[in-house]
């Protein structure tokens, strides 16, 4: 995949800075969207594909970290590259812990910025892919009936058909039938794969 594929969102309260970094990134063939206002950014941030965010941490309007949390809550899980005028260690640690991809100090040299952005986009892409996959799975899962979902739970728990039938108060045959449907719907051929799929689903669902 194109390392520059994906949108790079740029948010800095200083328009000049936005302008300068945008130029740089664009020169490096990134698809940059620059904002100097948080609200403007939030409105525009509806990524259809992988995207990352280059974010100035110390903005008067909104604490950068706060923004990160807000995005997360909104389900916009895009990787963030933090920029800061200070070289404060505690802050950077906090940012990383909160899931920042990178933490750079201004003035930021292109040699540092470009790889960071690329990495972020990579993460974004993979996440995107992951997301896409997960989405497909989710759709499959959604196709299951309630009964099937119930059965799947037991199957995944490693129980035998007999046991499941007993637990659910139905015949074994039914269980076998369900099993087959589940396998089909879920697009897997082995119980092990099913487990993996459910795990994936379970991972992304809370």
């Amino acid at each position: 995949m194109n390392p520059t594929a994906g949108i790079v969102y740029l948010l800095d309260d200083e328009p000049e800075m936005v302008k300068a970094i945008s130029r740089l990134l664009r020169a490096k063939r990134f698809d940059v969207r620059g904002f100097s206002s948080v609200n403007a950014f939030l409105e525009a941030c509806q990524p259809e594909g992988p995207a990352c965010l280059v974010l100035d941490v110390s903005m008067p309007e909104l604490d950068g970290l706060e923004l990160q949390r807000r995005l997360t809550r909104q389900g916009i899980l895009i990787p963030i590259v933090f920029l800061t005028g200070h070289g404060d260690i505690p802050m950077s640690v906090r940012a990383i812990k909160a899931g920042a991809t990178d933490f750079l100090t201004k003035p930021v040299d292109a040699a540092l910025l470009i790889p960071a952005v690329s990495a972020a986009l990579q993460v974004a892409r993979s996440r995107w892919k992951d997301d896409a996959e997960v989405k497909a799975l989710e759709e499959q899962e959604a196709a299951l009936t309630a009964r099937e979902r119930e059965v799947m739970r037991h199957v995944v728990a490693g129980e035998l058909n007999k046991q499941i039938a007993l637990a659910l108060g139905t015949g074994e045959q039914n269980i076998k039938q369900h099993r087959a449907n589940i396998m089909k719907k879920m697009g897997v051929e082995s119980v092990a794969d099913l487990v993996r799929v459910t795990e994936r689903l379970g991972l992304t669902r809370r």
């Binding site: 300068a20 970094i21 130029r23 110390s58 200070h86 201004k106 003035p107 292109a110």
Partner: protein, 926 residues
């Protein structure tokens, strides 16, 4: 007959009037009754005493009392000289013819011889005519003529009694000289006397001066031995028979005699005799006349018995009494004094009264003048004394006042005759009141106690003095009821009268009192005396007040001196008008005046010459303010070149002298102080402060490193990114040159921005001195907020601005103010570190406040410690890192701006820091 001729009417009337009158007159003379005729037979001749006076009295009284006309026919038998009875015939013949022609109504005769004659010849001459015998012995009459129509009035005379009377009046008489003339009658009388005086010859000796000529007799009279008196009987004729004028002999005797003369007859009194019970010759005549009146009116002898007259009551001539020193007391009782002063008095009553009055008036005037003179003399003496005292007290040195007061009191006592004088002075010690300080007394007496307080001994007097009332007590018994204690004290000191005058200047508080007393006698204090002494009291009061003022002044001066010495001040006074100046020892020391330059103009010039040339004009300008009349003191700090010690800094304070007589020049006074050390110390302190300020600025900036870094990093970052972008673009084929151009432009701008930040940084870091210029507080705060923005964001602090529009400019140093606000803002942010995010609000507000501008920084932090002031002290810090100088420096900055900085807790939590700074052009801001 008056012919009646035909005359005009008026004339006719006149004629008739005249006719009638003549007729009346004629009728009067013819129709009236014939006057009575009285024949007076005078045996001795006219004027012969005594009968001369008897007869004349007889005639006068008869004429007066009878009322109608009486004609007198006088016949004198002249028997005094001629004693021959043969001569009778002549007279008889004469009388007969006379009787025939005109019969008489009454015959009067007097004396023995007369009676004899009438007795003898009555029958033939006038047998039926009433006959009146005056004097003579009764026997003769009744014996001789027992007939009707005979009347008699006579008297008896006791000759011996006469002499006895003389002796009674003059007991010391041992010798009586009897005078008689030479005529037969007189001889006869002498004989009678001799006989009568016989029984008295054992008491007195009688000497007889008879038979001599008048001259001889007079001579004899003038040479009489002492204790002699004269008895004058008759002296009618002298030896050659010459009759004397009536009373001439007596007069001459009276003139010549050196002894008192007694006489015989009532009519002699007043002629020179002393007096006594005298022969009433005048009364005889008067009584005879009265009888004659009755006879002429028709009474007969049956109704008019013999009339016997006593000798006179003792009568005396007061003049003779006085002449011979005979006292009235020796006169017999019932005596009458004649010719005494009343005579004189009657005659000269009005002149005498007038003269007496005149003399009285004169005397009164003289006395008045004398008294006046005496009083005036006394008054003059007193006035002179007062004038002397007054002039002496004018220029009296205060130290001499009390002594001179006592001396003056002594003199006053001397001039006015007083005995005791005291000076009381008011004392504020306990007990407060009048205290006797000086006492003068002329006599010995009990000593007053020491100390003597009026409160204890003269409470009532003291009360009067406190009401500023002069008290004049003529007698201590007249003191009122409430002054019993005072009276006791007066008695104790033997004082009889007292005058006490309060001493107060202008009716203000009592300074003392003057007391004047007498011990010898009471004294009425005349109004004039009191007012004189009050003048004296005024003089004393003024002197005492001046003395007290002087003492106070002396005290004040001493204090001032002590004070200036203590403070190391040099004191000076300059009298520009009189070209005089005074510089005290300390001043000389500070300025180093050499000899010859310590007084007057020279001293002044010396000082001015040594003032540093750069400061001289300033000093002169300040001095000029005083010359222009400024009431405010001037002050100046300047460098002074001491000739030996070199350059010094002096602090100089001067003012105009308060009380200046008009017309005199400028007078100033003041102090100087050597502040060289202080100046250096101050300078050092300033340096230190500057250092410290710098240090903290640096420190603060250290704390700002985050912000600073940010401020710089921003432009740097922009530059870097832009430059790298440009590098990329230039690699493209074709390069986007317009884009590169705009990139470069942005780079330049960013660079400039960085440059600005550096500049500001340098300014902040630069060590500067406070220069106050008009500054807009809002701008300053905004700049600081910009500067600190990154930091604040880092700390998650939200800033809320509330700036007053049209805030007046303040007088301030921009850099320092920025430091101040920065400090406050950083402190506020720091305080809120523990707050949850979203609860970190920093509020900045500015507002005008009267003549100042207030800026407030409020946080929601941990608030203030209980002792708020501690915050502002150096080395107070809650941070583990930091000097703790921040707020101390802030305070120092604010005070350099003549403002205020303080902190308050906020009701809703947190703290507010207020800064108040004066407006530019505020008189407080210099």
């Amino acid at each position: 007959m008056i012919a009646l001729t035909h005359k005009p009417h008026g004339y006719r009337i006149l004629a008739m009037v005249v006719w009638v009158t003549a007729l009346a007159a004629f009728s009067g003379s013819t129709l009236a009754a014939d006057p009575k005729r009285v024949l007076v037979i005078d045996p001795y001749g006219p004027g012969v005493a005594p009968f001369g006076s008897t007869l004349s009295e007889f005639r006068n009284v008869l004429g007066r009392e009878y009322g109608e006309r009486v004609e007198f026919y006088d016949v004198s038998l002249d028997r005094a000289r001629f004693q021959e009875p043969e001569d009778d015939e002549v007279f008889v013949a004469f009388l007969r013819s006379r009787m025939a022609a005109r019969p008489v109504d009454l015959v009067a005769t007097v004396g023995g011889p007369g009676m004899d004659f009438v007795v003898r010849h009555r029958q033939e001459l006038f047998p039926n005519t009433p006959t009146l015998f005056i004097a003579g012995s009764p026997e003769t009459v009744h014996g001789g003529l027992q007939q009707s129509n005979v009347f008699q009035v006579t008297t008896t005379l006791d000759l011996a009694g006469l002499v006895k009377g003389m002796l009674q009046v003059l007991p010391q008489i041992t010798n009586v000289v009897v005078i008689a003339g030479a005529s037969p009658l007189e001889q006869l009388t002498a004989e009678d006397c001799r006989r009568a005086f016989q029984p008295l010859t054992n008491q007195v000796t009688f000497t007889w001066l008879t038979g001599m000529s008048l001259d001889q007799t007079v001579a004899a009279c003038s040479n009489l031995p002492p204790q002699t008196c004269l008895l004058h009987t008759f002296f009618l004729v002298d030896t050659v028979g010459r009759p004397f004028e009536r009373n001439e002999p007596l007069r001459r005797f009276h003139e010549a005699a050196n002894a008192p003369i007694f006489g015989y007859f009532e009519s002699d009194l007043g002629m020179g005799i002393v007096g006594g019970r005298l022969y009433p010759d005048l009364q005889l005549g008067a009584e005879a006349a009265r009888i004659a009146v009755r006879v002429l009116r028709g009474e007969d002898s049956k109704s008019i018995p013999l009339r016997l007259i006593d000798p006179t009551l003792p009568i005396f001539d007061a003049r003779e009494l006085r002449r011979w020193g005979i006292r009235e007391g020796t006169l017999p009782p019932g005596s009458t004094l004649h010719f005494r002063q009343p005579d004189f008095w009657e005659r000269y009553r009005w002149p005498i009264a007038g003269a007496a009055t005149f003399f009285l008036v004169q005397a009164a005037l003289i006395i008045g003048l004398l008294v006046n003179r005496a009083r005036r003399r006394e008054g003059e003496a007193a006035a002179t004394l007062i004038a002397e005292i007054s002039s002496k007290f004018v220029n009296l040195p205060p130290g001499d006042v009390e002594r001179e007061i006592m001396d003056a009191q002594r003199r006053i006592c001397g001039v006015l005759g007083l005995d005791l004088a005291g000076l009381w002075q008011w004392s504020d010690d306990t007990p407060a009141g009048l205290r006797l300080t000086h006492l003068f007394r002329t006599d010995k007496g009990p000593k007053p106690p020491d100390p003597m307080f009026a409160q204890e001994h003269f409470p009532w007097l003291e009360a009067q003095m406190l009401s500023c009332r002069t008290v004049a007590i003529p007698s201590i018994d007249e003191l009122p009821e409430g002054a019993t204690r005072d009276r006791e004290t007066f008695r104790q000191f033997g004082i009889k009268a007292n005058l006490t005058i309060p001493l107060a200047v202008g009716g203000e508080s009592l300074l003392g009192a003057l007391g004047f007393n007498t011990t010898r006698s009471e004294r009425s204090w005349s109004g004039r005396l009191v007012s004189r002494l009050q003048v004296v009291a005024e003089i004393f009061a003024n002197a005492l007040a001046r003395k007290r003022g002087d003492e106070l002044l002396r005290d004040d001066e001493a204090r001032l001196k002590a004070g200036t010495e203590l403070a190391g001040l040099g004191y000076f006074e300059v009298d520009y008008g009189a070209d005089r100046c005074f510089m005290d020892a300390r001043f000389q020391q500070i300025c180093g005046n050499p000899p010859g330059f310590r007084e007057g103009r020279k001293a002044l010039e010396f000082w001015l010459a040594n003032v540093h040339p750069n400061d001289r004009q300033r000093v002169l300008d300040e001095r000029q303010k005083l010359h222009d009349g400024s009431k405010n003191p001037i002050s100046a700090e300047y460098r002074y070149l001491h000739p030996i010690e070199g350059e010094k800094w002096l602090d100089h304070l001067a003012a105009l002298a308060a009380h200046r007589p008009p017309g005199t020049g400028v007078r100033t006074f003041g102090v100087i102080r050597d502040i060289t050390e202080q100046k250096h110390a101050r300078r050092e302190a300033e340096e230190l402060r500057g250092n410290l300020a710098h240090l903290t600025r640096v420190n603060t900036l250290g704390a700002l490193s985050g912000s600073l870094a940010h401020e710089l990093n921003q432009p740097l970052g922009i530059i870097l990114s832009n430059a790298q972008a440009a590098q990329e673009l230039l690699l493209q084929n074709p390069p986007d040159l317009p884009e590169v151009q705009s990139i470069l432009a942005d780079i330049v701008a960013a660079d400039r921005r960085a440059g600005d930040v550096i500049q500001r940084l340098r300014a902040l870091l630069k060590r500067g001195e406070t220069s106050l210029r008009p500054v807009a507080m809002n701008e300053v705060i905004e700049e600081v907020l910009q500067l600190a923005q990154a930091d604040l964001i880092d700390r998650g602090v939200t800033v809320q601005r509330s700036f007053a529009p049209d805030l007046p400019l303040i007088a301030g140093d921009r850099v320092q103010l920025q430091q101040l606000i920065l400090n406050l803002i950083l402190n506020a942010a720091e305080a809120m570190v523990g707050n949850p995010s979203g609860a970190r609000l920093l509020q900045v507000r500015t507002s005008p406040l009267g003549s100042a501008v207030r800026a407030s920084v409020r946080d929601q932090g941990t608030g203030l410690p209980p002792d708020i002031e501690k915050l502002f002290q150096p080395f107070y810090t809650t941070k583990s890192q930091g000097l703790g100088m921040g707020l101390a420096i802030c305070r120092s900055i604010v005070s350099a701006h003549h403002g205020r900085l303080w902190a308050e807790p906020h009701a809703e939590g947190g703290a507010v820091f207020h800064v108040e700074l004066p407006m530019a052009n505020d008189p407080n801001a210099r």
